[in-house]
């Protein structure tokens, strides 16, 4: 079992109605599997565009996420 902490930003936080939450996965999961779990929990995420950053970087979908990772769902950027 791994407990993961997920951070949501901008329109993603609006969609999930929270800025952070914990998710318990039965096994080690990859970024892609995590994304799938999150879309099951929050079906509206399927309609949105976002990227998942692990420890501030964008990694390949098969990267395994660990409980000490900082996981962030980032919607499209709008700076400037």
């Amino acid at each position: 079992m791994t407990e993961l902490k997920i951070n949501y930003y901008g329109m993603i936080a609006e969609c999930t109605a929270c800025e952070e939450e914990f998710l318990t996965a039965a096994k080690l999961v990859s970024v892609q599997e995590l994304d799938h779990l999150l879309k099951q929990k929050h079906p509206n995420l399927k309609k949105l565009s976002y990227k998942i950053a692990i420890n501030h970087s964008f990694v390949t979908p098969d990267t395994l996420v660990q409980s000490d990772h900082e996981i962030a769902l980032l919607p499209p950027f709008a700076g400037g």
């Binding site: 930003y9 901008g10 980032l74 499209p76 400037g80």
Partner: protein, 147 residues
């Protein structure tokens, strides 16, 4: 590599014209500089579905954004012969007509500052996790997306 102190980019609310003027004034002692270039991002009153945006409320993954700004700064210094560089971006609410981004580069000669400012602004827009919602007069909003 030389260790440089990380600078803070984010300011709460709009960037004031007086702040920009002061920043220019501070460079008058740096007499090796012969050219400055400044980019100012201003909040536009976008019209969407017959409603006019009154403001943009900015939020960010601040830690990642500061790290990205630092990375972009370093890459710009690496690429261009600049004397100095300053970047400020707003967080929170900035009304239409107010300034939300202030980028300031200086060098001995003009050519390099034109190229550097474009490189900087384009990278900031593309790489930094900043999010903005355009708020209308009836308090509804849409999320903005850089193109």
């Amino acid at each position: 590599m030389e260790v440089k102190k990380k600078k803070t980019v984010f300011v709460e609310g709009a960037i004031m014209p007086e702040f920009i003027a002061n920043s220019i004034a501070k460079h008058q002692t740096k007499t090796s500089i012969g050219a400055h270039d400044i980019f100012l991002g201003q909040v536009r009153a976008d019209e969407i579905a017959n409603k006019t945006a009154q403001a943009i409320t900015y939020s960010a993954h601040t830690e990642m954004a500061e790290a990205k700004f630092h990375e972009i700064r370093e890459a710009t210094f690496e690429k261009f012969e600049l004397t100095c560089m300053h970047i400020y971006h707003s967080l929170g609410t900035v009304k239409a007509g107010e300034i939300c981004l202030f980028v300031f580069v200086s060098a001995p000669h003009r050519k390099v500052v034109f190229d550097a400012i474009e490189f900087l602004v384009e990278n900031i827009k593309k790489e930094v996790p900043i999010f903005g919602k355009e708020v209308f007069e009836d308090n509804t909003h849409v999320w903005k997306e850089n193109t």
